[in-house]
């Protein structure tokens, strides 16, 4: 029963959600609405669970004095202080002037932006050291990339301003996006849709059971 009940629940809920797409009657829409509300609540518990697990893993590392344990202490301190302040400040924890807001604006926001800003340097380094044109396909990729990169910035327009409109780089870039790129992306969308539909049905019908990982 440790596997059968979850499989039955998945099947019943999944089929009901598919049915609700086609049947607007209250007998279907009210339970479907309730199931979605339930999923939202369970997901929220899951996020809290994830945070608790992070705390547990890092506390263990600190207690056992694993390599880098001092940094894990910083992680734990950041987590505990943020949660404590957020809970103490109540529903208004996101209001202007609260300590939670200060942590969000000056700590979370700045570091989140800086982490992703590093990628610009790495992409330049990778373009120089790793982008190698060895085949026709790679050449096509490179040419398309160069045209779109320069066509979507004003400098590209300035450099090709003297050419006829159809040959300007911004026109070529827009054409690439509207026609060949669009065709290939649509093929990927359709292929992915078929895959998702197949996998969704496999999960609902209990053929795909990887989400039940773990020993019985």
């Amino acid at each position: 029963m440790k596997r059968e009940i979850p499989l039955f629940v998945t099947a019943a809920v999944g089929l009901f959600m598919i049915l609700s797409f086609f049947v607007p009657h209250q007998a279907v829409s009210v339970p479907a609405d309730f199931l979605q509300q339930s999923a939202i609540i369970i997901v929220a518990f899951g996020i809290v669970l994830g945070g608790a697990n992070l705390l547990r893993v890092n506390l263990e590392a600190v207690v056992r004095r694993q390599p880098g344990w001092t940094y894990k202490l910083v992680l734990i301190a950041g987590l505990v202080v943020t949660v404590a302040l957020g809970l103490i400040e109540g529903r208004d924890f996101q209001a202007a002037g609260t300590r939670s807001t200060w942590i969000y604006d000056q700590v979370y926001s700045s570091m989140s932006s800086a982490m992703f800003a590093l990628l610009a340097f790495f992409i330049a380094s990778a373009a120089f050291r790793a982008f190698r044109i060895r085949t026709t396909e790679a050449a096509l990729l490179a040419v398309a990339a160069l045209i779109v990169m320069m066509g979507r910035v004003p400098l590209g327009g300035v450099l090709t301003a003297g050419l006829p409109h159809e040959l300007r780089i911004e026109t070529l870039a827009q054409w690439i996006l509207d026609v060949p790129q669009n065709a290939a992306n649509r093929a990927i969308l359709i292929g992915a849709a078929l895959g998702v539909m197949a996998t969704g049905l496999r999960v609902i019908l209990g053929i795909e059971r990887s989400y039940l990982s773990g020993e019985d």
Partner: protein, 224 residues
Amino acid sequence: MSPHPSPDLGVWVAAALTLCIFSFLYKENPFYRFAEHLFVGVSAGYYIVLNFWTVLVANLWDPLAGAFDGRQGSPFAVHLGDYRAFLLLPALLGLLLFSRFLPRYAWVARWSLAVIIGVYAGLKTTGFAQSDFVAQVHGSIQPLWTGHWGSSINAWIFTIGLVTSLLFFYFSREHNGALGSASRVGVFFLMVSFGAGYGYTVMSRISLLIGRFQFLLFDWLGLR
């Protein structure tokens, strides 16, 4: 142009943490590791608090408290969007997720996962079917002669690109003969799309760097 550094301590803290992250470009160092771990801890803490107040309290606790305070009639009188005491069920399922901390009872969490998986599998299946399959195929059926040479050539290129790219993803037969040639043409179209994607990705990454430098130059140093 002269600097007018911000008097706000918070801005200096943000700038210092930004520079700690950027120090990774020279080489990995304790300042970067400190900032990295602080970021992970603060992010996790923020997500926990956010979900607590916006979902667990607003969508679970408040309606449950209202259902049992006697002012709204029977706790089991359900309407669309108002589920009152029935919300005890997702509350219980949510709490059962914590059974994963007890290896002997971790299997109980599968019941909660089953509800989540069922809901999202159902939503995804119909969503992809409607929007990414039916609507896309419908949109692909277009006239190959539009009355103008330019748009007609584009329609032909689009259709050939779509069909050959789809044929590339047909793996039930070996790519030989006509299928092989068609899928090779499809690969060319796919490479063009990956190139366009690469160009846009470069734009995206550089935008993020521009944003951080705008903060350092204008908000922190006040250079005008």
